[in-house]
């Protein structure tokens, strides 16, 4: 089933706590997906490159040398960052296996991501100037507590609660998906794509790499590739309505925009609230009510609709 949510503040952040708002939205949709929860949050843009990566899963067996192995792999990751000319300004961890690094780096992002991913167990969740993807097992409140997201301030975000159907319950199966290797692009998706392997082969032939076996990852890479060919976010999303087959409602975010698209059957739900100060959208209205206490006007977009807002 899964639940998706998106939020974009129209005038800066208006003093609202982005991380706490998104947590409330996702927690109210826990019944749509209790397996894992993920966030793609956009903080203030910096001139540093932010890397979120994991070295293990929450439910990996803690065997004899688990901690030593993590230490070793982490040292290897840091070594590889330096080797490619990145200056590590800061590296912090919220759990023993999930890290956030801030780098001064102006080289090729794909080269960096590929090189880091070759470290055993390493998965680069996101790369960008303002995008930070956090995902883990459990409901929104436990993930937000674990990663201290309640205090996260920013401009826009998307989130996902997952009920695993097609692949395993682990971090690589959780949304949002970063558009590897394009900076600051992420997607959450509710639905199933039926021409996944076709697109995966096509994109792999043009040199892209996929981190998971999940159909939703295609959307992120597909859109980012279209945008890198010079199309706008809206044009790319419109093209996806014909290119992607299956049922979907997905939300795509970039450094300064948030867009949503629905398939031609309008098979998956989405409720939309467009206010003067913010746009909030979610699979169920109960999520929007969780952050707005007054009476509001909301509606369900129709089939083949693409809507984009910039902050």
């Amino acid at each position: 089933m899964c639940g998706i949510a998106g939020i974009i503040y129209r005038n800066g952040n208006g003093g609202r706590p982005l991380g706490a708002d998104m947590t409330r939205m996702l927690q109210s949709m826990k019944h749509r997906g209790p397996d894992s929860t993920g966030y793609a949050l956009y903080g203030p843009a910096s001139d540093l490159v932010l890397v979120r990566f994991t070295l293990a899963d929450a439910n990996d067996p803690r065997d004899f040398e688990f901690t030593e192995r993590l230490e070793r792999h982490r040292a290897e990751v840091e070594g590889r960052m330096r080797e490619l000319g990145a200056q590590i300004m800061n590296i912090e961890f919220d759990t023993e296996y999930a890290f956030r690094a801030a780098l001064r780096y102006d080289g090729d992002l794909k080269r960096l991501a590929d090189y880091l991913e070759d470290v055993p167990g390493c998965e680069v969740l996101s790369l960008g100037k303002s995008l930070e993807i956090v995902k883990d097992l459990g409901d929104a409140e436990s993930v937000a507590d674990q990663y201290g997201l309640g205090k996260f301030e920013g401009t826009h975000a998307i989130g996902h609660v997952r009920m695993a159907t097609e692949s395993d319950v682990d971090i690589s199966g959780a949304h949002p998906y970063w558009a590897y290797p394009f900076a600051d692009v992420a997607v959450v998706h509710n639905g199933q794509l039926t021409n996944y392997f076709q697109w995966r082969r096509r994109l792999e032939r043009s040199g892209h790499r996929f981190q998971s076996e999940c159909d939703s990852e295609i959307i992120a890479v597909y859109l980012a590739e279209k945008m890198s060919e010079g199309l706008s976010l809206e044009e790319s999303m419109n093209a996806s309505l014909d290119d992607l087959d299956g049922v979907f409602t997905y939300i795509c975010v970039t450094g300064d925009a948030l867009g949503v698209a629905k398939d031609e059957m309008a098979a998956k739900p989405l409720v939309l609230y467009e206010g003067d100060d913010m746009v909030a959208l979610a699979s169920e209205e109960i999520a929007i009510r969780a952050i707005i206490d007054h009476e509001i006007e909301t509606y369900d977009p129709y089939e083949r609709e693409v809507l984009v807002w910039t902050r």
Partner: protein, 263 residues
């Protein structure tokens, strides 16, 4: 009414249906036959228990529920005549399986509102999600905003009146009853419908399979004017009528055993 089933104590509500563990919160302010309560601090089950207890046990005929907060499955399975007002919005499956009540919702509703409603009236001031009035059997469902996709899917009776527009596959596989859509309708209108009538005031993006324009009669004018009069909606716009083309009718009236005798 309590009973022991195995080791577990199961209590039954006013209609003799099992409602394990939850208890009626008894928070409504009752004034004669009218009652009002705030749903904000209550769970879905508590809200429904309170509502049922009021209309079945405490002789209340007019209930106002404040702050429903888009919770799912509110006001379902009410099988008696009464008046219910929701001051706010409902989530999924609102007012499903009802038989008799007059319901007024001042906000909007999510997916599958009034699913399998048997009789009564539901008036929604705002918009409605997809699958509105799915498998509707009878009664009137009035949406003053717009409805999502597949409204009146598998409709078997009753009337769905929408003042706004409707999404794709409206009236998909409908078997009986009527839908009145005052503005535009999406693609696949009346796809694979067996019978029934769909009236559209605006443009139709595309007709579904075996849905064709129908011939307008006096009875159509009378029906639409009556519905607009009852709900105080002013004078109706001009409508086009769509019915089943019956090209997909590939069955006969014979039972399999009879067919053997004939053929």
């Amino acid at each position: 009414m309590d009973a022991l089933v195995g080791e577990r104590r199961i209590s039954y509500d006013a209609r003799g249906l099992a409602e394990p563990t939850a208890e009626v919160p008894n928070v409504a302010m009752v004034d004669g036959t009218a009652a009002v309560f705030d749903a904000a601090p209550l769970t879905t089950r508590q809200i429904n228990l309170e509502l049922r207890s009021l209309v079945y046990e405490r002789g209340v005929t007019d209930v106002t529920i404040k702050n429903p907060g888009s919770k799912h499955s509110l006001g379902v399975g009410i099988l008696t005549r009464c008046r219910i007002t929701f001051e706010g919005s409902l989530g999924y499956f609102g007012c499903g399986l009802i038989d008799g009540p007059e319901v007024h919702i001042t906000g909007r509703v999510g997916w599958s509102a009034c699913e399998n409603m048997m009789s009564g009236v539901v008036v929604i001031e705002g918009n409605a999600g997809s699958l509105t009035g799915a498998a509707l059997r009878g009664g009137d469902l009035v949406v003053k905003g717009r409805v999502g996709a597949r409204s009146g899917i598998d409709q078997k009776g009753g009337t769905i009146l929408t003042l706004g527009s409707a999404g794709s596959m409206t009236g998909f596989m409908m078997q009986r009853g009527r839908q009145i859509i005052c503005e535009d309708a999406g693609p696949g209108l009346g796809d694979s419908m067996y019978d029934g009538i769909i009236y559209v005031g605006g443009k139709v993006k595309a007709l579904g399979i075996d849905c064709v324009p129908g011939e307008w009669t006096e009875a159509d004018t009378e029906f639409i004017e009556r519905k607009f009069r009852i709900y105080g909606l002013g004078s109706p716009p001009e409508f086009q009528k769509f019915v089943c083309g019956k090209k997909l009718y590939n069955y006969d009236n014979l039972e399999p055993s009879e067919r053997k005798l004939v053929l």
